[in-house]
């Protein structure tokens, strides 16, 4: 390499940037691009990837009722988990953002701790809680609320409970950051002008925390529809969502073309939502 080129790379920073960029190019972008042709090849049972090109895997994923049910279930799960995380997370975040308690840093660590703990371990905890002879059912039976154990594993409700628990800390951390930065004097002004606490909250605090609510909701939704470990362990091999369907197509059925097509549909949902939300956030920011 000539010294002039070296100096130019040094000045525009591309010399320093090239190792991380080459890594992303070779181990991220190229593998993703290599999956595009795979998703367009036919699948021959027992033999694998066939010759020629076809859009059948995309068409099937978006028309076949079996696939549509799984996609619909995944999206419904994402939506309801997001709403639960908002309902539980906003009050907790509000408390953590406003409390004067000297325990505040330790309470924050209680929110962070589950995030750092191995996801497989947290999911295992939910298996112990939700099984037919698990703590939740034992308690419900002992209290006489139900007579026989309620089915909470391998179905929608089990996934809903566990995924809400697993992604709640993300929502809380995003909201704490936003609520802490709200200008308190605007709330005080509303109170001074005679607004009750409910009016103040609904007309001042809540609208001002909207960017955080949006950011936290998108984050939780995308994480939920992308989740693999928890749906796989709590849903078993039969109760599927999109990511576990992809997992099965690649590792069990060896139908890589269909798996690749489903991967791109899942990616379109995740990446599409993230780009959409940053566009909305920019407009919110510009409007304020």
């Amino acid at each position: 390499m000539s010294t002039r080129l070296a100096r130019r790379l040094e000045r525009n920073g591309l010399g320093l940037l090239s190792p991380p960029l080459v890594l992303l190019l070779l181990v991220f972008l190229l593998p993703l691009l290599a999956m595009v042709p795979t998703s367009l090849h036919p699948y021959i049972p027992g033999k694998g990837i066939g010759e020629g090109f076809t859009a059948e895997h995309y068409v099937k994923a978006l028309t076949d009722t079996y696939y549509l049910e799984i996609i619909g279930r995944t999206l419904a799960l994402g939506l309801i988990v997001t709403l639960i995380c908002l309902a539980l997370g906003y009050p907790l975040a509000f408390f953590l953002a406003r409390t004067q308690s000297r325990w505040r840093p330790w309470l924050m660590l209680l929110v962070v701790f589950p995030l750092l703990l191995n996801l497989v371990v947290r999911t295992f905890g939910w298996i112990a809680l939700l099984a037919n002879r698990g703590l939740v059912n034992d308690t419900l039976v002992a209290l006489g609320i139900v007579e026989t154990p309620v089915k909470l594993l391998f179905n929608f409700s089990g996934l809903l409970i566990a995924l809400s628990h697993i992604f709640l800390p993300f929502m809380v951390l995003v909201l704490v950051g936003v609520i802490r930065n709200l200008p308190r004097d605007v709330e005080d002004a509303a109170r001074t002008l005679g607004a009750g606490w409910a009016t103040t909250f609904l007309r001042v605090t809540l609208p001002l925390s909207l960017p955080g609510i949006l950011a936290g909701s998108i984050l939780v939704f995308v994480l939920t529809v992308s989740a693999l470990v928890t749906p796989r362990l709590l849903g078993g091999p039969t109760y599927k969502v999109m990511s576990t369907l992809i997992y099965d197509q690649f590792l069990q059925l060896l139908n890589w073309p269909a798996g690749a097509a489903l991967s791109f549909i899942l990616t379109a949902i995740a990446v599409g939502l993230i780009s959409l939300s940053s566009a909305v956030a920019r407009r919110l920011g510009a409007g304020a």
Binding site: L26, M35, L88, L92, V225, T267
Partner: protein, 266 residues
């Protein structure tokens, strides 16, 4: 009821609700710890009897111990390389006139937006073609891709606090570029490097969705090992192993908090 008293009750109600949610967050953790001490051969809570035999079973199982060491080794190497690459990228983005800088930082962050399972299957196919499947270097490269967003982001944030003039002054006074960086900039961005490193370590040590597709048969990581064990059926030894991880994570968190004030970065 006076307005004051109403205010106080509202505050108490909010604190009580917050306490309940925090209890909900800790519930599975407590349950796992309790379940690990049962003397029954099946999971039951509260535990029946009290025994440490499940811990003995885990610690005498070579497969678990090997998987633990392999996961730690992988996470440490990933963390070190990720900090170096993250610092290079963050330094270039904040101190140099990088062409198309927004696109480049967008690219560096993009692995965060992609579902882990998608990165996993893409690498499964790619590694099968290139022969990297099952290799240590393949795992290392994959984990670097998914940890880089964290190290770049935290180090980039801490670069904002490092005054470029100080490094420039060191250069004028005759320090070579490396020494100038080491003495003038590095001390300021060290907390960001530590925090980014902690995220990288946890992301690597925790990962299943990408790792499980590219692991092959030569190596085994701890989370994938537990994942497959649970798929075969749960027993109290998994609770014992989980409790070990819970204790390890708690110690890690307290130390991290002491070092860098972890909760500020989360």
């Amino acid at each position: 009821m006076s307005a004051r008293a109403a205010e106080r009750w509202r505050a108490r109600g909010l604190a009580a609700f917050a306490g309940l949610i925090l209890a909900f967050l800790m519930l599975p953790v407590v349950v796992v710890v309790l379940a690990s001490f049962t003397s029954t051969s099946y999971l039951t809570i509260p535990p029946k009897g009290l025994t440490l035999r499940w811990y003995e079973a885990v610690f005498s199982d070579r497969e678990y111990i090997d998987a633990l060491w392999f996961s730690l080794l992988l996470a440490i190497v990933v963390t070190a390389v990720s900090i170096v690459l993250g610092t290079m990228a963050a330094y270039a983005l904040s101190r140099r006139q990088v062409p198309a800088a927004p696109a480049i930082s967008g690219l560096l962050m993009s692995p965060l937006a992609f579902p882990g399972v998608v990165i996993g299957v893409a690498l499964l196919q790619y590694y099968s073609l290139t022969g990297l499947r099952g290799s240590f270097i393949g795992l290392l490269l994959a984990h670097l891709v998914i940890t880089l967003p964290y190290t770049v982001r935290t180090i980039l944030a801490s670069m904002a606090g490092a005054d470029p003039e100080i490094e420039a002054a060191a250069r004028v006074l005759g320090a070579n570029p490396w020494v100038a960086f080491w003495k003038a900039t590095l001390p300021v961005i060290r907390p960001g490097m530590m925090a980014g490193g902690l995220f990288a370590f946890i992301t690597s040590f925790d990962n299943v969705p990408v790792t499980i597709f590219i692991l092959g048969t030569r190596h085994m990581t701890l989370p994938v090992k537990i994942f497959t064990a649970i798929e075969y059926g749960v027993d109290p030894s998994i609770a014992a192993l989980s409790t070990v991880l819970i204790a390890g994570t708690a110690i890690f968190l307290v130390l991290a908090e002491r070092w860098v004030g972890f909760h500020r970065f989360a």
